[in-house]
């Protein structure tokens, strides 16, 4: 993707010059608040929306010049699972297989296979109008996989799902990348989703990528982990402060704890435990805090990701 831009008439630049590359077999998390430009980017990459400027290729094909080849090599489950309430789950899959040109016998096999994989075998012959939100999402994912695409786009796939369905979907996405070598481009506004699934993350805000890298690297970029220690005896707070000061900047919390930044990373944790033990200082709690992706978002945009949406 190079300098990809999408401008809507009488509107702001929804996507404002994005550059990024996603490797084969990678799960790429595209993280940002509502209205940041995630879905617009996906619409362009899936050839549903032409870019105003810039260029991008998907699976080696230019999204503007070779849009039909792009569509043949991708699967996509978009934000709203647009399904026909009159068709059953099986009929949806058969329709999708027909559109993609699968031979008749293969259509039946693939439909059975996918219904089983997404746990919809029993509901296969029920009209989709009666499906729950989670079932629709699962069917949507199955539809995206019918023609065994090399690249899968998932636009906020777990929005509105219960925790169980969300976990099942995460597992399936991980399996697709791990076992089938599928490249997954996943947009989400959930920090834990990006953290749990993505090999690399791009953080988008107001149409621009503000940070990119592995979750660990992004977090490391903005700061070191910290340890918060609460002594068992309140009187030990002063001594605890003195001991921890040797590991980095420390400060006392209002809850009777001391927090120390670890510029050398969490490797210092073992040494802290040893020092506390050798000084016979009993602790009530000891917690390691890693910087979160929300901290990354805050550092890059000056705002917290939660509630930063503009829509």
């Amino acid at each position: 993707m190079h300098e990809l831009v999408r401008e809507f008439r009488k509107g702001p630049r929804a996507v404002d010059g994005i550059d990024l590359a996603v490797g084969t077999g990678e799960i790429y998390g595209f993280l940002g608040p509502n209205g940041a430009g995630k879905s617009t980017t996906v619409l362009m990459l899936t050839t549903l929306l032409p870019p105003t400027a810039g260029r991008a290729s998907v699976g080696g094909f230019d999204i503007t010049r070779d849009s039909a080849k792009v569509r043949a090599s991708i699967g996509a489950a978009l934000q709203e699972a647009a399904l026909d309430p009159i068709l059953t789950g099986r009929e949806h899959l058969m329709l999708q297989a027909t559109l993609q040109g699968l031979p008749s016998r293969r259509r039946n096999e693939r439909t059975r296979e996918l219904l089983e994989r997404v746990g919809l075998t029993e509901a296969a012959d029920r009209r989709v109008g009666g499906y729950s939100g989670g079932m629709k999402r699962r069917l949507d994912l199955a539809l995206a996989l019918v023609h065994q695409p090399r690249i899968l786009f998932l636009d906020e796939p777990t929005t509105g799902l219960d925790p169980q369905s969300r976990a099942a979907l995460w597992e399936e996405v991980e399996r697709l990348a791990r076992d089938e070598g599928m490249t997954v481009f996943l947009t989400t506004q959930y920090l834990e989703e990006a953290d749990a699934l993505a090999d690399r993350i791009g953080i988008i805000d107001r149409g621009r990528i503000v940070a990119e890298g592995t979750p660990a690297r992004l977090k490391a970029e903005i700061g070191s982990p910290s340890v918060e220690v609460t002594p068992a005896q309140k009187d030990d707070i002063g001594r605890l402060g003195e001991l921890l000061a040797g590991f980095g900047d420390s400060k006392r919390g209002s809850n009777g704890s001391v927090t120390v930044q670890l510029p050398g990373g969490e490797a210092a944790l073992a040494e802290i435990v040893r020092v506390l033990d050798s000084n016979d200082l009993h602790v009530e709690t000891l917690q390691l805090h890693q910087p979160s992706l929300d901290d990354v978002f805050l550092a890059k945009t000056g705002r917290k990701l939660e509630g930063a949406g503009t829509e």
């Binding site: 549903l48 999708q96 027909t98 559109l99």
Partner: protein, 256 residues
């Protein structure tokens, strides 16, 4: 080309499937022409007593030819409603995303419209025959009448699909239907063209639908008139509206 046919087949299958399993889609398509047939052929049958009304097979056949062609046109129009509904529900986006060849989507909707109209046309024909319609045309002439219906349905469907793709909202319904409705009813519906007078006669004389209806009535009566002209007009309309529908699709593609 193979991708085009896969997509067309898939979209047509869905269209026909939904028509068959959902009475809410099929019933209005059948009820309207049946209502017209009963109301016009039954209620206005005394019109055939007017001097200079010289349509040999009688008034039921005279009205049947119109209703048959009108049902074909409205069948095409109803397809436009379905397309608009698909855009509003987001299903059209799924089709755009899943179709390697997007022109196949238009072809699929058209094939669906043709299949749906074949059901409606058959029902209307059976109803007219049951009402005692005289048929004086031979097999070839009746095939010609069927061809006119298919041409009418094809052109109307392309018009409706094109406009629905441009506007992408169910609110486009009246805009899709009105021109077809007006064009149909500004043709000689109740009496032959020769019995019309004034501005209605003037408009009907230049209305291309008039030639199609007169050709249909001629074929049904076994005395063909303006058949070539009717097919040329339908062919031209089909070509024009096919280009219009393709532009509508391009507009939908641009809008995402």
């Amino acid at each position: 080309m193979r991708r085009f046919s896969y997509v067309a087949r898939g979209v047509a299958w869905r269209s026909i499937h939904n028509t068959v399993v959902n009475p809410a889609i099929l019933v209005p398509s059948i009820v309207f022409p049946l209502f017209f047939l009963v109301a016009f052929a039954g209620g206005l049958s005394r019109i055939s007593d007017i001097p200079r009304f010289d349509y040999k097979p009688g008034y039921t056949a005279f009205q049947f030819a119109f209703v048959f062609l009108q049902s074909a046109a409205f069948g095409g129009v109803f397809t436009g409603f379905a397309v608009a509904r698909d855009f509003e529900s987001g299903f059209a986006r799924r089709l755009l995303l899943s179709s390697p060849n997007r022109s196949g989507i238009i072809a699929g909707y058209v094939l669906g419209a043709l299949a749906r109209w074949m059901i409606v046309g058959a029902v209307v024909t059976v109803a007219a025959l049951a009402a005692g319609m005289n048929v004086e045309g031979d097999g070839i002439q009746l095939t010609g009448l069927l061809g006119l219906g298919l041409g009418m349905n094809f052109a109307a469907a392309l018009w409706a699909i094109g406009l629905a793709m441009f506007l992408r909202t169910e609110q486009a319904g009246p805009l899709i239907q009105m021109p077809v409705f007006v064009a149909l009813f500004l043709a000689p519906v109740y009496v032959p063209l020769s019995l019309l007078t004034g501005w209605v006669h003037a408009v009907s004389s230049v209305n291309p639908i008039t030639a199609v209806i007169e050709a249909g009535r001629g074929l049904l009566a076994g005395s063909p008139v303006k058949v070539l002209l009717a097919f040329v007009l339908l062919g031209a309309a089909g070509t024009l509206f096919a280009a219009f529908a393709r532009r509508g699709l391009a507009s939908a593609e641009r809008a995402g």
